[in-house]
């Protein structure tokens, strides 16, 4: 490409645009990228099963943060939505909205991260589109991905299956992504020990989905594990009890949240999965999670008969309601 920064002309359908697509996107994605000759891409399913589709948009600021960037996030986010539904992610499409003046070198880094993430999850990005936004009308880069996956026959995952007594597991510490992005966004410029957990959960879910007793899986993204717990309570009509003593939170995350006044249970994860398992199989599933690459997984809660609400049992034995997240939480202490 002859320019170091994106011009409006990179969106005009002409040579600049062709160069951008070929040199930045197609070459950057390589073997997981699209076949640029085709207007529409065929999808080859690895096995016969139920077809699943999902879509997601990504507007994270800053575009790059410790542990990932918007590119890797755009792949992991959609892949994980398919994975927790019990599917093998097969292919993605990509829409990129790029602000005029964006550095091409940055774009290349984002695309490289996308490629790596796609490889990790075994998906191809089979089709794409780019649009250029006028300077000042976008946050640098916005991405949208749509995904197709296939779910083997016989995999049944549904909130409807949840019963009182079922255990709740989480595949690792919570709040890493939300904290890392928050610190990066506000340019706090410290705490190198805080990294996003952005990763594919497919290596975990492909093992879990076939295990007996597994009822439901979800990735605790926006709103964190508290929001998942709240949704699970509403959907199951049961009380969700989480144990603070069992819920893994990394020490630097805890420390930063304490200072800034955020509750890590409400902060996003991008590489974790919450699993609901029949009590009898909980230990077996925990062992599998550990073996499949999630050594910090833990049994963190239980479904109980009771009012349909989520509560957390604190370290002191007290109980706290986990209410649905507000847009902008204001202090309640009088």
């Amino acid at each position: 490409m002859e320019h170091s920064h994106i011009l409006l002309a990179h969106g005009n359908g002409g040579r600049f645009m062709r160069e951008l697509i070929r040199e930045v996107f197609a070459q950057g994605l390589g073997d997981v990228g699209p076949d640029t000759q085709l207007d529409a891409a065929p999808v080859r399913l690895p096995f016969a099963g139920e077809l699943l589709t999902t879509t997601d948009g990504f507007t994270v600021q800053p575009l790059e943060f410790p542990g990932g960037n918007i590119g890797s996030l755009a792949v992991h986010g959609t892949v994980n939505d398919l994975a927790v539904a019990g599917a093998d992610p097969v292919s993605l499409t990509l829409n990129a909205f790029i602000e005029e003046g964006t550095e091409v070198a940055l774009l290349r880094r984002l695309v490289a991260a996308m490629a790596a993430a796609a490889r990790e999850a075994g998906v191809r990005i089979v089709a794409g589109d780019t649009k250029i936004l006028r300077r000042g009308e976008g946050g640098g880069v916005y991405l949208a991905t749509a995904g197709i996956g296939v779910r083997p026959a016989g995999v049944k995952l549904s909130m409807d299956l949840i019963q009182a007594g079922d255990a709740i597991l989480v595949s690792g510490p919570v709040g890493d992504h939300g904290t890392a992005v928050m610190l990066a966004r506000e340019a706090f410029g410290l705490r190198g020990d805080l990294r996003s957990d952005a990763a594919s959960v497919w290596p975990l879910t492909r093992v879990l989905r076939a295990m007996p007793g597994v009822r439901f899986m979800r990735d605790p993204t926006r709103g964190g594990i508290a929001t998942v717990a709240h949704e699970l309570a509403q959907a199951s009509g049961l009380q969700v009890r989480l144990w603070a003593s069992q819920l893994p939170v990394r020490e630097p995350v805890r420390a930063v949240c304490d200072i800034v006044g955020y509750d890590p249970y409400y902060l996003a994860c991008e590489g974790r999965v919450v699993v609901v398992v029949a009590a009898a199989q909980a230990q077996a599933v925990l062992a599998q999670l550990s073996a499949a690459g999630a050594p910090e997984a833990a049994i963190v809660g239980v479904f109980e008969t009771g009012p349909k609400q989520a509560i957390v049992e604190t370290h002191l034995g007290g109980e706290r309601l986990l209410l649905e997240l507000e847009d902008d939480p204001l202090p309640r202490i009088c």
Binding site: E186, F188, L190, Q239, A255, V256, D258, I259, V260, G261, Y262, P307, Q309, I311, L316, G317, G318, E319, R320, L321, L323, E324, E326, D328, P329, L330, P331, R332, I333, C334
Partner: protein, 758 residues
Amino acid sequence: MKKAVTLVLAGRVQGVGFRPYLYRLAHSLGLVGEVWNEGGQVRLHVQGDTPAVEQFQRRLMQEAPPLAQPVLVSATAAPLSLATDFTIVTSQPSQTAPYLPPDLFCCDECLQEIADPGARRYRYPFTNCTQCGPRYTLIAGLPYDRSRTSMAQFPLCKACLAEYQNPLDRRFHAQPLACPACGPQLTWQYGSEKIIGESALTQAVAGLQQGLIVAVKGVGGYHLLCDARHAPAVETLRQRKQRPHKPLAVMLPQLGADGLQGVAAYVKLSEPYGRALLDPSRPIVLIPLKPDHGFAPGVAPGLDEVGIMLPYSPLHHLLLQEWGGPLVATSGNLSGEPVLLDAQAAEQRLAGVADAFLHHNRPILRPADDGVVRLIAGKVRRLRVGRGSAPLELTLPQPLLQPSLALGGQMKNCVALGWAARVVLSAHIGEMASPRSAQVLTQVCDDLQTIHGIQAQQVAHDAHPGYTTTRLAKGMGKPLIAVAHHHAHASALAGEHGIGGGDAKLLLFTWDGTGMGVGEYPATLWGGEAFYGGPGAWQRVASMRPFRLPGGEQGGREPWRIAASLCWTMQRPYPHAPEAAALLHKAWSKGMNSPWSSAVGRLFDGAAALLGLVQKSSFEGQGPFLLESLCEGQPGEVIPLPLTLDSQSIWRSDWSALVPVLQDGRRSVQARAALWHSSMAAALVAQVEQIQKHYPVSAVGLTGGVFQNRHLTQQVAMHLAQRGIALLLHEQVPMNDGGLAYGQLVELAARQQQHAQQ
């Protein structure tokens, strides 16, 4: 000359032995007639010689039993009848909503009885009569009858039944009456040791003597008791309850002719304190400590006063007599949750706190934690509605158009049910963050409606969207009315003084922690507001210079954050801050989770931290309590705070001049604490004088948790008195968030009336 009258009496006339009292009075005067209950009222017809009837009418109100609070509705002349005796007629059903009596003390006659070795109820811990004992916590429904109380499961023995049926006995229709043969029993549980019956009490006293922490089931819930003179026991209790500093209440035996001789050695007892201690509601009274009090230092660390209460039930009298000294008596709960009610929950939840349990098998239907009062500006003022005072009967200055529930706030919460001009305010429930608080609140709302036969048509709640009570209100499926936190505070004060109209000319100061403001975007957190007008039409006229609360809600728990924020605003470093301050400063400077606030309660926190008194507080108000304690009642120097009109026509006092003075180490800590109070009082008075230039002010009022601070309130009161300005303070309704639910109903009624007039 013969005369006959028909009298109608309302007020607290049921469950307090009022009809038997009328019966005895009529008999003693040789009158005939009849008396009956009709809904919430007592109606009677008396006739006899004219002087005797007149005497009856006079003495009826003057000599009413201590617990009765009769209100004469009407007295009309009646035709003479052929009656030959005075009789108590079976109750008539009626539409009038009844009065639910509170839980009261153990009366002198019952006390004598349990001390009399020859009496049937010698040493019986559940003795009561029509003049005393539990009510609110054991009534399941009304009309008030044993079958609708938690005593229903204890069939009366022959002797008790005879008392119950005898109109001349003081236990005539005493619904919770009981005796050792037929009533509830104690159980002592210490590890595997279990003792049922009278010796359970002796075991409990022995346990306390060994330094054990004993959970004791009382009237409205469990207490945790331990020896108040034994430092290790107090320390252990604090450690286990995770309550490092919050003062602990102390129960002392009722001794001597005036009942106060067990108290006088520990605290500076003046007449109003004594009267408050002996009130039939037996509240916790905050009283200044004597220097040589002899309590373990951990009872009220750093404070110059302590909460004292006298025994309120026969069980506690027996315990305290046998113990003979001070016992720490703190709520048996996990911090902030409603007090625990039953053995199973207590043993489970207090497993890590109590060594042993003294249970009894009379069920408690709803919690009533101890009530709390404090002497402020010459009067005893209620800080917590609880056992003995709940449900608090209040009136509205303007009636509600529909029956309504009000769910209050988030901290120290109570709920209220209102219909027409009547309001019942529940006992203190607790902090609303826990699921048990939410569950208790829902149950109390249901109970109040069922018992009074009133179904609320609408629900008032705080304007804060994140309060648990707001979420609960939304789940009730009824029309909702949001009331701004400080409008509710202001209306509670106006309402208590019978002022309801929006055309009132009040100037009310609502100083507290924080509450959701209205009419601004983004919303700021109020808490230093002055409103002009009346309920339903408050106009915000004065406030404080806003400051940031870095870390949001954490600022309420960690006063150092406020101190740091005040310093940073003044471009001064905050020297005492932990290492974390660097990170917090970044958040503060970027406005990240650092909402703006004008809350004076938070300024008091900040001042306490600037004086080095507290960096992180372990209970609400710790900083302000310590700050007030330092002043020893002495006024200090006044630093005048500039008062300027902002762009929204609100007068703002600027606190910034106080920051360097509070940090000035050349002044003593006491002098700086006194200076802080005096300057804030002067700032308030300056606001009053400024507002008076623009509006006619009929009276100034103070409400909100900050005015629990006696030192501040009394200085304001003195300044206003010197200027001849009328001052309104709370007496019955808590000035803190415990009064919000009542204020929400006052506000709601006023809005409805104003809407109806348009």
